[in-house]
């Protein structure tokens, strides 16, 4: 097996916690962009929280957007720079709480951007509060007795919300284990391909462990993701998948 480090990510010290999926996601995006010969043209937008650390890690032109507005920032950018691939990178808090209106309407309009959404079921940067993706019963700093789904709702699933929309691509991958990571990379690649084909919104949600805020060691966090999170967030392609 040949591994080539992408030129577009730094191998200097990174701000991500050990066991976090952001570093993996950032690298996969850089690998795909380089393999497809798009690295010289790619522009990214990042949200304000943990994912914004890619500002330092990525060797791409990057815009740091307001919290929850990363997707619409990318949409505005793409409309004036049609020849550039444009990718929005943000978390589940940005996409499914404060930026829900933007998420829904980007789907409704089928805007021509790539969205990579990292879902770790909590707010990471602010220290692990409950999010719309938090699992029933999951303890967080703002649901210390476990999330009461009757009060705060079931974990939000993008495939349900987008079910009636004709978007270019929708898939969910996971950033743990070699097989899952390879599959996630294929999803990101497919999103890029469809984006370059102007097929509209190409959306990949990536389940990521957050050992720090889940209060779990990295290997236990991996188990929690695969055993618990995937019960609520099934992996696979939901729209625009070529397989099956």
């Amino acid at each position: 097996m040949k591994l080539k480090a992408p030129e577009r990510v730094t191998f200097n010290k990174s701000g991500f916690c050990p066991g976090c999926g952001h570093g993996v996601a950032g690298r996969l995006i850089a690998e795909v962009a380089e393999e497809m010969g798009l690295a010289d043209k790619l522009i990214t937008t990042v949200d304000v929280a943990c994912g914004s650390l890619h500002l330092e890690d990525w060797h791409f032109d990057t815009v740091m957007a307001a919290h929850g507005r990363t997707l619409v920032t990318a949409i505005g950018l793409k409309k004036v720079r049609k020849d550039n691939p444009v990718l929005a990178y943000y978390g589940d808090g940005a996409g499914y709480a404060i930026g829900m209106a933007e998420t829904i309407h980007a789907g409704l309009r089928n805007d021509n951007v790539i969205a990579i959404v990292v879902n770790n079921a909590i707010y990471g940067m602010t220290g692990g509060q409950m999010a719309p993706t938090t699992l029933p019963g999951q303890k967080t700093t703002s649901s210390p007795y476990g999330k009461d789904a009757a009060r705060f709702g079931k974990p939000f699933r993008i495939e349900d919300a987008y079910s009636g929309f004709d978007i270019g691509y929708l898939a969910r991958g996971a950033l743990v284990g070699a097989a899952n990571i390879n599959r996630a990379k294929k999803m990101i690649r497919k999103a890029f391909e469809k984006h370059m084909n102007n097929q509209g919104l190409c959306y990949v949600e990536l389940l990521s462990p957050c050992p720090t805020n889940w209060n779990l060691a990295p290997l236990k966090a991996k188990d929690f993701l695969l055993d618990e999170m995937t019960k609520h967030f099934p992996l696979g392609e939901f729209k625009g998948g070529d397989a099956k």
Binding site: R69, T73, V80, E102
Partner: protein, 356 residues
């Protein structure tokens, strides 16, 4: 040759934006701004630009943020409650050193208010209406012609300072129809800036649009100080009418200044020494205009708000040495004859006479 046409204020503003090279618009319907959005919904296509009716003002202003990052001349417009929602984006544009033009076709009231003209957003617009430590250039048109001219200028100023520029129009200016000479079409090259995101080779310096103090560090303070000092030195704009010998000088902008112009004429016909300073930039406030008022005994702002918002700036411009009165109503544009009567009363009081 410029074209002279009859147009609604809002539409003249929209057309002038296109002629200034603006090729990106995102907005949301709200009265009395909506004609700008409606006009651009078909006209933007004709000039090959991008038009989006967004899901909210928040989405619209953040789309503008994205388009501005890419080097485009970008516009969003709103009124009252919608303009409040723009504040997030305006604060971010300032922090990230990005040019854009944001129009507020002002309407009456806080909260929902109503759709009639108002000037209650003076403080919000001139003091930095969002969070943080910023102000923006604010241009205040008082005619359909100026709606066109100042919008055209706004894009140049935004680019000169890499800073958002606000337009303080109002329902009356936006809705009235007047003759207007439209400016020439200008081309804007979105690749001309070295700072805008556009992609590049791996060996190039990567462009990062973010809070600029992240990259600038302590130099940020001096950078910002100089930026605002330059605006205050170079961008004060105003129009003076009969100020030199005036004992009472009205200070008014936008639609209110139109009534004051008439009041100055009427007062002069009665032998009253009355003048008018009309700020065209609300920030930077045209303090230089006040040097000319050497005989003045009192100033009187005329503005459609209750809290006499602009009087703060008039006092600061005159070192609090001269009395500043306020006239105007939230609900209506002032009546010329009533203004002349107020002027007469204030001049008599200033000279030591009775004040009734």
């Amino acid at each position: 040759m410029s074209e002279r046409v009859l147009m609604k204020g809002n539409e003249a503003l929209a057309e002038a934006a296109l002629r200034a090279g603006c090729r990106f618009f995102a907005g949301y319907p709200i009265t009395p701004q909506t004609e700008i959005l409606e006009y651009l919904s078909w006209r933007m296509d004709e000039v090959g630009g991008s038009y989006t009716q967004a899901e909210s003002e928040l989405a619209a202003v953040n789309m503008v943020f994205g388009a501005a990052s890419g080097g485009a001349r970008a516009l969003t417009t709103s009124s009252g409650p919608g303009f409040s929602l723009k504040q997030e984006g305006i604060s971010y544009l300032c922090a990230s050193d990005l040019p854009a033009v944001i129009v507020n076709v002002m309407r009456i009231g806080s909260g929902l208010g109503d759709i009639a003209q108002g000037q209650g957003d003076y403080w919000q617009m001139t003091r930095g209406g969002g969070h943080g430590d910023y102000r923006t250039i604010v241009l205040a048109p008082n005619s359909v012609q100026e709606n066109a001219d100042l919008t055209y200028l706004a894009f140049d100023l935004a680019e000169k300072y890499r800073h958002p520029v606000l337009m303080a129009s109002d329902a009356a200016i936006g809705q009235m129809i007047e003759a207007v000479e439209l400016p020439e079409f200008k081309e804007h090259d979105i690749d001309k800036f070295d700072w805008s995101v556009k992609g590049g080779k791996v060996t190039e310096k990567y462009r990062k649009i973010q809070n600029i103090f992240y990259s600038m560090g302590p130099a940020y303070e001096d950078f910002l100080r100089e930026k605002y000092a330059k605006m205050e030195a170079e961008e004060q704009r105003w129009e003076s009418t009969a100020v030199e010998d005036a004992e009472l000088v009205f200070v008014a902008f936008g639609i209110s200044s139109r009534v004051c112009e008439e009041a100055v004429e009427g007062a002069r016909a009665k032998g009253l020494k009355v003048g008018l300073i009309r700020p065209i930039t609300l920030y930077p406030f045209p303090v230089k205009a006040f040097e000319e008022a050497k005989k003045v005994k009192a100033f009187m702002t005329n503005e459609m708000n209750l809290l006499a918002q602009m009087t703060d700036d008039v006092r600061l411009a005159t070192g609090c040495k001269i009395p500043v009165y306020h006239s105007g109503s939230i609900f209506s544009i002032s009546d010329t004859q009533e203004l002349i009567a107020r002027a007469e009363e204030v001049i008599r009081a200033a000279k030591g006479g009775d004040r009734t």
